[in-house]
Amino acid sequence: MSNFAPLEPSPPLNRVQRWNTYLALITALVVLGLGLTMRNTALTATQPFENLEAGVRAQVPRGWLIDTAGPDFVIRAQDPDALPFKTLLQISVLPIGPDATPNKVLDLLTMERAARFPAYRELLRADQTVRGEPAKRMEYIYTQDERNPFQATVSLVIQGVDVVVLRRGQAVIITYREERSAFADNLYRFENLLQTVEIF
């Protein structure tokens, strides 16, 4: 007998069985919608950060490691679960002279980083606005080597972006760095930070 013999027609379903089928589909939509809402809420959950001395207020991702004691930044937030590179968001304040422009600040950062980061290279520079204020955006790339010689790993390629906003003799630099393959996936965290940051 052939394995591809035509199937017998299915027995007819009663009203309860038909409605069970319809409601299973509706349940699937509701539950998956709930699941995706939970996922988006968890991924975009933030906590407030405020530094009155530096005049910066922002929403940073909840559950990240927050460091406010660095000499060259106001806040540094890192994702403790990220591998192999801990995703970084940072806000720094740099004193500037009266003739400074966002481009000059980015030039300064480029010179300083070229000496510090292996294979540092600027990718693009563009204008943008941060909460209505003009700003300059720079994307760059560099490699990071494992410092422990007993952990033989290949170098990581790190992609970063800085946005510079000038304010009364200071440049506020908002930074995002991520391992290159995950850069685009987590860029929304940086965009969220840009949307919530208040410089006063």
């Binding site: 069985q17 996922r39 968890a42």
Partner: protein, 300 residues
């Protein structure tokens, strides 16, 4: 055919009354076989040091990952072929389970749900509900779709039929997930075996639930939300396993250990499967006994 209690019936009488194969014995055998294989490999690698603790070859890892389907073929399918009325299309259902896992569940998990990005940061109940509402429900809904649009209701004549087909689709589904781990993770044989078992056994448990609820929908008198409740229950069971697993395998780090306890993960997966099997065996036996009693009262 008599529906009197069959405790004192001969084997022939019991076989006459139950022409299709009972599923629990072979299902338990599969669980025990997988548990023992993982336990032996773990002991040989992590305790006795007989096997290398270096990553195994891809072919060896693949061999471990397909153990659930091999054990299903050798234990369940072989027993099925030797009964008077073997259940048809079991292999086709298993293959469909593998197909929907590979074509739908894995891409959804990797590209959309991405549980590793957000679930570890949640508390116990957050992980349970988050996993159940995304990865867990998707898996159970896909298994339901396979069963609903292949063998249901044409090949469902008793509650155990639903369980048998639910187990088959789950084996296919879990094998794809195990293969994904084996092919793309540099792991030892023992780690691959532990992961394979911890993937497969919870899927078998939730497959029993989906199969039972589908069979009952055809055989019994059910409420209008019966199927939805079954799917949500199966998803919650997989979510509970995920949440408990995070507690079980991440222990307290100490001077002599890294804090990881894979053996607890193995025991947890086995315990989940055993508890669900025992519970649904009892529920099905009770429902069958009630149905038989009701029928006997209506017979002259």
């Amino acid at each position: 055919m008599s529906f009197e209690p069959m405790l004192f019936g001969t084997e022939e009488e019991i076989a006459e009354a139950q022409p299709a194969r009972r599923v629990w014995r072979t299902a338990w055998l599969e669980v025990i076989a997988l548990f023992l294989i993982a336990l032996v490999l773990y002991t040989l690698t992590d305790i006795l040091g007989v096997l290398s603790n270096q990553p195994a070859a891809t072919s060896a890892r693949t061999g471990i990952a397909v153990l659930p389907v091999l054990s299903w073929l050798l234990i369940t399918y072989r027993a099925e072929r030797h009964t008077r009325q073997p259940r048809p299309h079991l292999v086709a259902v298993l293959l469909l389970g593998a197909l929907v896992a590979s074509g739908v569940a894995v891409p959804l998990e990797e590209e959309l749900f991405q549980p590793e990005r957000w679930l570890p940061g949640l508390d116990f109940f957050g992980r349970l509900l988050g996993y159940a509402a995304t990865v867990g429900f998707t898996a159970e809904f896909l298994k339901y779709l396979v069963l609903r649009y292949s063998i249901w209701p044409r090949h469902i004549s008793q509650r155990l039929d639903g369980v048998a087909y639910g187990l088959a689709v789950s084996v296919g589904f879990a094998t794809v997930l195990s293969l994904r781990y084996a092919l793309f993770t540099e792991a030892t044989l023992a780690a691959t075996a532990l992961r394979t078992v911890s993937i497969t056994l919870p899927h078998l448990a939730s497959g029993v639930i989906v199969g039972f609820f589908l069979a009952e929908l055809w055989i019994g008198r059910t409420a209008i939300l019966w199927l939805s409740a079954g799917l949500v229950l199966a998803a919650l069971i997989s979510g509970a396993h995920y949440a408990f697993r995070a507690i079980a395998i991440v222990g307290s780090p100490g001077v002599a250990s890294t804090g990881s306890s894979p053996l607890l993960g193995l025991l947890l997966a086995t315990g989940f499967a055993a508890a669900i099997f025992a519970l649904f065996a009892f529920i099905i036996a009770s429902a069958d006994a009630r149905a038989a009693l009701a029928l006997s009262r209506h017979l002259p």
